[in-house]
């Protein structure tokens, strides 16, 4: 059996959601975190047995996935996804975003609050959570807004969102910065009582009025208004000091500069309870790409320089940056097919994240697969307080896993993506790795690199 064609050996149709328990699933000879070949028997939504490769027999009626040559990781957890629903169903829906997530190897995603209406009440977060449950391809964890309407003026009802059915633990005005230092302080204080975290979009609004791209050599030549690194770094510096002062948990979204890394490193050394994420695109792409004025490269925070990319990679390797989060931001074609200044900011990322991580961090020798599991699964699950995700693939643990073929290489073709967005900045790049299977609660939602059953409908 070749590595890239795992086959199911029973004819039992398996729906993506279905009711009741999934039939048992035997994953045979998967390389656990890139290590020894291991058989994993998944039953009742849990890992029932984990044993040396080839040692387990499939119980009657069990589906078997031959996974020789495939790396098994715990299901990926995205701390930063824009599912756009409600309000911008022309860009993405919970259904299409869930499909993209599952195909990318994710079993849980955090849906950002900048929807329309904004996810700033228990009602909206419960709606998003419920939509996610109905789709059933990944666990959708709504993020609650920090301030009402993301307006940065008064706090949203964080407690109500935390105690809602959606059990919100991550609060963010992402897309906008909680710029007011008093409001930020209050938000940090409030989230302590619900074991939550404020995920800050660090961008000083005054320093970035009308900003179009990273401020540096390329912006000077292109005549595009610059977005100075200091606009990000100054807010992070303020926030880590605030978090330290009030003893709260702070998460920094999408750090993009070498200076941000230094500040986070300093804060961690000082004992501040801060975590940080980096996006796949900031690990691979630079502002040089803007020279053609193609808005597919327009993103917030902007693509930075090669030196920043190198610093970010090192920061993931040494643990200063805790997680890789996609900031998946689909946009309809017309919002990108225009002149630069008129275009929307954002890039898709769910279906390419693992490949980019492999390209930027694994193939460069900076991370092993166990580290990949840390930055794409266990750390984001811990930060988001997603209790049953990001767990080790061990007996008794929840059966969320992804099987990836690290030897595959393929060009990125956004037209073939499940997300509605075609705005992938990786278009045409040949990237390593292919998600072969994604398993949520013991039920395969992706097999042979395609959605299973009615998930694909």
């Amino acid at each position: 059996m070749s590595a890239d064609t795992p086959t199911s050996t029973t004819a039992t149709p398996v729906g993506a959601r279905g009711s009741g328990e999934a039939p048992a699933l035997l994953v045979r000879r998967a390389s656990l975190l890139g290590g020894a070949a291991t058989d994993l028997l998944l039953e009742g939504g849990r890992v029932a047995r984990a044993a040396p490769g080839g040692s387990l027999e499939a119980p009657a009626g069990a589906r078997v996935v031959e996974a020789e040559g495939l790396v098994a990781l715990p299901g990926l957890v995205d701390l930063h996804t824009h599912l756009r629903e409600p309000g911008r169903e022309d860009a993405e829906t919970v259904l299409t975003g869930s499909r993209a997530a599952a195909l990318g190897g994710f079993t849980a995603v955090h849906a950002m609050a900048n929807t329309d209406p904004v996810a700033d009440t228990a009602g909206v977060v419960e709606q998003v959570w419920r939509l996610g449950r109905e789709v059933g391809l990944v666990d959708v964890r709504p993020v609650g807004a920090v301030t009402v309407g993301l307006a940065g003026e008064r706090l949203a009802e964080l407690g109500a969102m935390a105690s809602s059915a959606a059990r919100v633990r991550v609060f963010s005005d992402d897309g906008r910065c909680v710029a007011d230092p008093v409001l930020m302080r209050r938000a940090l204080e409030h989230v302590r009582s619900v074991d939550g975290v404020v995920a800050q979009h660090a961008q000083d609004p005054r320093l970035t009025e009308g900003a179009q791209m990273h401020e540096g050599v390329v912006s000077s030549v292109l005549g595009l208004r610059g977005w100075p690194a200091v606009a990000e770094e100054a807010v992070i510096a303020r926030d880590v000091l605030l978090a330290d002062h009030v003893g709260s948990r702070l998460h920094v979204c999408h750090v993009s500069t070498a200076g941000s890394v230094e500040i986070v490193r300093w804060a961690k050394a000082r004992g501040v309870d801060v975590t940080a994420e980096v996006t796949p695109h900031h690990l691979l792409l630079t502002d040089e790409l803007v020279r053609g004025y193609d808005p597919v490269y327009k993103v917030n925070p902007p693509l930075r320089t090669r030196a920043d990319v190198e610093a970010l990679r090192e920061a993931v390797a040494d643990g200063t940056v805790d997680v890789v989060a996609t900031d998946h931001a689909p946009h309809p074609m017309e919002d990108k097919d225009c002149e630069w200044a008129a275009a929307a900011m954002g890039m898709t990322g769910l279906e390419t994240a693992l490949s980019v991580v492999q390209e930027a961090l694994v193939e460069t020798g900076l991370l092993g697969w166990a580290d990949v599991a840390r930055v794409l699964s266990s750390s984001p699950a811990r930060i988001g307080r997603v209790a049953d995700h990001g767990r080790p693939l061990a007996e008794g643990e929840p059966a969320h896993l992804v099987l990836v073929d690290p030897s595959a290489r393929r060009p990125v073709e956004p037209e073939r993506h499940a997300t509605q967005g075609r705005n992938s900045p990786f278009r045409g790049l040949e990237l390593p790795g292919r998600v072969v299977a994604t398993v949520l609660r013991g039920r395969p939602v992706v097999l042979d690199g395609a959605l299973v059953g009615d998930g694909a409908a």
Partner: protein, 317 residues
């Protein structure tokens, strides 16, 4: 020449060839009958998303004197926020059979998008895009420099600008004229020094092929030409880039005293429209060394040459 989007699109040979064609065009403009049949039957669309009477009229005159059909489309008010209108306008123009589009737009890179986004196959001439570039302005400036300094040095026609020293003074940060001039003048061998307050020089300017200075008085005695950029009053005072217009004039305005710091042969240039009394005094603007009016007429010749090379193709050059 398929498009002209940036002064960087021209190598030395190409720039010199264009300037030579412009000389020929200028010669025809001295005749009583100024019109040439060269572009008869071709359609040039002037697409102006931003008000600029001077540039629009200059391009119109250039196209008409080459006998092209000219359609002028002033879409002022079509804001950048309705970005798709650029694409739709491009499709419309393509459908109407435009052979070339002269584009003026407030968004940097708009001409680049029009040329390369796959919306249409029409040749694009950048007539100013945001704070990016304005290549024909740089060409007409180089044309003017070449003519006037040749008179000074007594050299023959043609030739580049090797060793010519040019100061560009003013709001470099927001100036498409400065960006195009730095590139083209460097291509032609000139040494450029940008003179501006630190707030009006972009971060990243250190990588440009030129020098920078904050001291106009120190620069003026060493240059063959000083190019004064337009400074918008809105950027002074409340605009935050400079404390006040008066302070700007004191430190960076080209007045009578500074005029006398220049070498005797040095030229005073300005792309227009001028803010007399702000970046340039009447004495400087109207002095015999001023080329400001000449730049306007040279603009027509240079734009004729550009349209000719764009539409009549390589073989015509």
């Amino acid at each position: 020449m398929r498009h002209l989007l940036s002064a960087a699109d021209l190598d030395r040979e190409g720039a010199l060839a264009l300037l030579d064609v412009a000389e020929e065009m200028a010669a025809t403009q001295a005749r009583e009958i100024k019109k040439l049949p060269t572009l008869r039957g071709r359609t040039v669309v002037n697409l102006f998303f931003e008000d600029s009477t001077r540039t629009r009229i200059s391009f119109e005159a250039a196209a008409k004197r080459l006998s092209a059909d000219v359609i002028t489309f002033s879409a002022k008010g079509s804001s950048v926020s309705k970005g798709e209108s650029l694409k739709d306008t491009a499709l419309t123009l393509q459908a109407m059979g435009a052979d070339a589009v002269v584009l003026r737009h407030s968004a940097s890179g708009a001409a680049h998008r029009l040329a390369h986004a796959g919306w249409s196959g029409v040749g694009v001439l950048n007539a100013g895009d945001g704070t990016h570039e304005h290549p024909t302005q740089a060409l007409l400036d180089a044309f003017t420099l070449r003519r006037r300094l040749r008179e000074h040095s007594g050299a023959g026609p043609g030739g580049a600008l090797d060793g010519v020293r040019v100061a560009v003074v003013g709001d470099v940060l927001h100036s498409r004229v400065a960006r195009s001039n730095v590139l083209l003048l460097r291509t032609l061998g000139a040494d450029v020094v940008l003179v501006a307050p630190p707030t009006l020089l972009p971060v990243g300017v250190d990588a440009w092929p030129c020098r920078t200075s904050w001291d106009l008085d120190a620069v003026l005695p060493e240059v063959d030409a000083v190019m004064v950029l337009r400074v918008q009053r809105e950027r002074m005072g409340g605009g935050g880039f400079f404390p006040s217009a008066q302070e700007y004039t004191r430190r960076f305005g080209l007045d009578g005293r500074r005029l006398r710091l220049l070498p005797e042969h040095a030229l005073v240039m300005h792309p227009g429209p001028m803010n007399r009394g702000l970046e340039i005094s009447a004495e400087a603007a109207d002095s015999p060394r001023s080329t400001i009016v000449e730049q306007v007429s040279n603009g027509v010749a240079v734009r004729m040459a550009t349209l000719y090379l764009l539409l009549a193709g390589e073989d015509a050059a």
